[in-house]
């Protein structure tokens, strides 16, 4: 039986609307309008024990809503959700003791409490055995380098420090299933690496099942074995990361600033002209078939070039390519 089972999940929100301006506000007093927004319209996927799944999609696609339903915070409007045979919302108390959740945009530690005291409070709230707790906490503190932060109030931590503390807080009760909702948002490069490294270890060494949402393709490349792309409240693609890598992520962009007006056509086999804007021309190519140094050498030999740089695809481009590739149509 899969660890997590989601079938035809539906959730809609009611949004209060009003016309803009003073007149709209006055009208809003006597006449209320509501609009229903379908956040999820039939999401289906399942997750095996020990899997590490990445969930990506544009803002508002339904990633967070999916996690909130799986965590038992929100009640689904329709469809079936089972985690280890439990119904998250209806069996909330039993369910949440066995999962760990990190919302990158919120804090679960107490703002005015030192980190260590917050951990102790969580120990009591989750009724963790004190001996076990000490072992887990010491391990987490060492792995996430929190020794020097334990005495500091949460409000005085930097974002990177706080996120490491948040992740430790979510694991103190040794959950077997971990939901990470944008855990690397706003972090600098070293903090992102530390978080990724830790998530990987939690998955490999503790065997935790992990469901991760992100806007950073590097998170997915570094961590996930499988990725689901979600958009308009639907699953658009569900594929192994390797497939994603060979099909889409391999694409590179070569951005060239010419010294003077660029020519109308270029003799660059294996590239396509993606964009042209004044003196700047963007080429797309696949590094597996054309090598970047060779392309650059060819460009510099034949043209007067002011500047060159390479880019990977942004998550938006990856998603729109997936739309195209899987025939979802509306991108």
């Amino acid at each position: 039986m899969p660890h997590v089972l989601v079938e035809r999940l539906v959730k809609s929100y009611r949004i209060a609307e009003r016309d803009p301006g003073l007149w709209g506000a006055v009208r809003g007093i006597v006449h209320r309008r509501n609009r229903t927004v379908e956040a999820l319209s039939g999401v289906t996927f399942s997750l095996e024990r020990g899997e590490l799944l990445g969930l990506i999609g544009p803002n508002g696609a339904g990633k967070s809503t999916t996690i909130k339903i799986l965590a038992g915070i929100l009640r689904p409007d329709g469809g079936r959700v089972e985690v280890d045979g439990r119904h998250p919302f209806d069996d909330r108390e039993r369910h949440v003791g066995r999962i760990g959740v990190v919302f990158g945009q919120r804090t679960q530690l107490w703002w005015d409490l030192p980190v260590g005291e917050g951990f102790d409070l969580l120990r009591d709230i989750y009724r963790v055995d004190p001996v076990r707790y000490r072992r887990t906490r010491d391990e987490l503190v060492a792995m996430l380098q929190l020794e020097r932060l334990l005495d500091q109030p949460v409000r005085q931590l930097s974002l990177g420090q706080r996120m490491r503390a948040e992740i430790a807080a979510a694991l103190l009760h040794e959950p077997e299933l971990l939901f990470l909702d944008e855990p690397t948002i706003g972090l600098d490069a070293p903090s992102k690496l530390a978080v990724r490294d830790f998530v990987k270890r939690a998955n490999r060494e503790r065997g935790a099942t992990v469901l991760l949402t992100t806007h950073d393709m590097h998170d997915i490349e570094a961590l996930a074995e499988r990725v689901i792309i979600i958009g308009h409240g639907r699953v658009l693609a569900d594929s192994p990361v390797d497939a994603l890598r060979t099909q889409v992520l391999a694409q590179r962009r070569l951005v060239v600033d010419f010294d003077g007006t660029p020519p109308g056509t270029f003799d660059l086999p294996g590239t396509d002209l993606v964009e042209r804007d004044g003196r700047t021309v963007v080429f797309g190519f696949d590094p597996a078939t054309s090598s970047a140094p060779a392309l650059i050498a060819r460009l510099v030999a034949n043209h007067a070039v002011a500047d060159i740089h390479l880019e990977g695809l942004s998550i938006e481009e990856v998603i729109s390519r997936f739309y195209a590739m899987h025939g979802a149509g509306e991108a």
Binding site: K68, I73, L74, I125
Partner: protein, 270 residues
């Protein structure tokens, strides 16, 4: 019990740190207490009501001022904040009864604000006023030792009763996403019906039975009546029972309302 005790203790210790707030509150309450005492004195000089001697009315006033922070006239600001920002999501992730967790936290929040203020007020009105030669305006000791003990238990129940009321405000805040309207409605109701504005015994005679039975009386009026020894023996136990009844009734109401509010809860933001 362990999660709830931990939630209580942590909020209690956190709130105890706000010493300046306690001191400022105390000064304001002394000031208002002084004005109320002078008004009562003037009022009694023009003919004393039979229902309560002046010394009692003055002691009542000091107790009421000392226990001002006990009255449930606002929801826990932390709850309001967590609802507005959506951190309430994390409260839903704790493997405990959500109502009981908030209740414990709210009780800690109230207790930590009441204890320093009442201690300061007692020092001022019991000890310092007589030393300053204002013995007539002082906070008098309880009628008997037993009356004092009953009053202490009753004050403990008043804390739980207040927490049960604050929980209703918290839940309304969670449902409406805003605390201001709710708090504005609660304040006048609580101040009048608890006896804080005027001892309930000084309100019209025909209302007395209703005033005593309504839930707000248990916040202040019942503990103070026990303190004066107005109720003794079985009647005193009955008074405590009345408080316990309202605690249970409001907690049951709150528990049900919370279930409903959480069902409809949209977690705000991202």
């Amino acid at each position: 019990m362990r999660p709830y005790v931990a939630a209580f203790t942590s909020r209690f210790l956190q709130m105890l740190q706000y010493r300046t707030a306690a001191l400022a509150g105390f000064v304001t309450q002394c000031w208002w207490g002084g004005i109320k005492v002078m008004v009562l004195t003037a009022f009694y000089a023009s003919g004393a009501p039979a229902s309560m001697p002046l010394a009692h009315a003055i002691t009542y006033t000091w107790i009421a001022q000392g226990l001002l922070a006990l009255l449930p006239w606002a929801g826990d600001p932390e709850v309001a904040l967590s609802v507005r920002t959506g951190s309430v999501a994390y409260d839903r992730l704790r493997p405990v009864d959500a109502y009981a967790l908030w209740f414990a936290r709210t009780t800690g929040w109230i207790a930590a604000r009441v204890l320093p203020r009442v201690a300061l007020m007692a020092t001022f009105a019991v000890v310092l006023l007589p030393l300053a030669g204002l013995g007539a305006w002082a906070w008098q000791p309880p009628a008997t030792l037993a009356a004092g003990a009953f009053a202490a238990v009753s004050a403990g129940l008043a804390l739980l009763l207040s927490a049960a009321f604050v929980m209703l405000l918290n839940i309304a805040t969670a449902a409406l996403l805003n605390d201001r309207g709710i708090n504005a409605l609660a304040t006048p109701l609580v101040i009048v019906l608890s006896g804080n504005l005027l001892p309930l015994a000084l309100l019209p005679d025909t209302w007395q039975a209703v005033l005593l039975l309504q839930p707000f009386a248990g916040l202040l009026d019942i503990p103070v009546r026990l303190y004066f020894g107005e109720f003794t023996g079985w009647t005193a136990l009955g008074a405590l029972g009345l408080q316990a009844f309202w605690i249970a009734a409001l907690a049951a109401l709150g528990h049900a309302a919370m279930g409903g509010a959480m069902r409809r809860l949209d977690v705000q933001g991202g």
